[in-house]
Amino acid sequence: MTERTSIDVEQFLPHAPARVWRALTDPQRLARWLMPNDFRAEVGHRFTFTTHPRDGFDGTVHCEVLQIDPERLMRWSWKGGNLDSTLTWTLAAEGHGTRLFLLHEGFDPDDPLQQKALKIMGGGWRSHILRALEAELQASA
């Protein structure tokens, strides 16, 4: 099995891109659906998201606005715990609504610290046991 290094998620929202953009760029609104933050929609602005600390993660995600194309695209760096990654939000008008795409890139499956971070997030399946299971299932396929 090839391991992924990025995540793609999308969501259709029955609201115009301007509304969706506001929910993505207004710090109060961002706080309500994502995390408390000191975001400003300016390229080069450094900001943080804060959440509850966990073992191996101090609860702070350090970000920087890398790119902004209003109501169309926004890119942030996203560094927290052992993760050094990038988020790209893309908005596409669709009918009376907006399709919102999120691309989260920069995962490294060979980084033991990232594996540990994932374990803390509630995973733990990428263990030796699972490898053994996969090998076993593949061998018996």
Partner: protein
């Protein structure tokens, strides 16, 4: 963790190789009491890795391959995180509409 026990891995392997099986037939492969096996099956069921359905008087267990795939996908927790957040975003926008 659901697949951390050799017996549970063996159950998954049997279901994969032989298809859906009633618990009686699964039990033949194990040197353990039926209640112990049932406990393992329950854990696998709770984890969504197997499903159970009643056929006549028997309970048939089947493998849920999609879930197994998800389990083995190391980015699944992040994906779930974002899916949950985007659902939250949809709810926020909807709530604003009602204001």
């Amino acid at each position: 963790m659901a697949i951390a026990h050799p017996a549970r891995r063996e159950v998954l392997r049997l279901l994969r190789e032989d298809g859906p099986r009633p618990v009686v037939q699964l039990a033949e492969h194990f040197d353990m009491s039926r209640p112990s096996l049932s406990e393992h099956l329950k854990l696998l069921k709770d984890a969504g890795l197997v499903s159970e359905r009643k056929v006549g008087r028997q309970r048939l267990y089947s493998l849920e391959p999609d879930r197994l795939q998800e389990f083995s996908d190391w980015l699944a927790p992040y994906e779930r995180f974002w899916q949950t957040r985007l659902t939250g975003l949809a709810e926020l926008l909807e709530a604003e509409d009602d204001d």
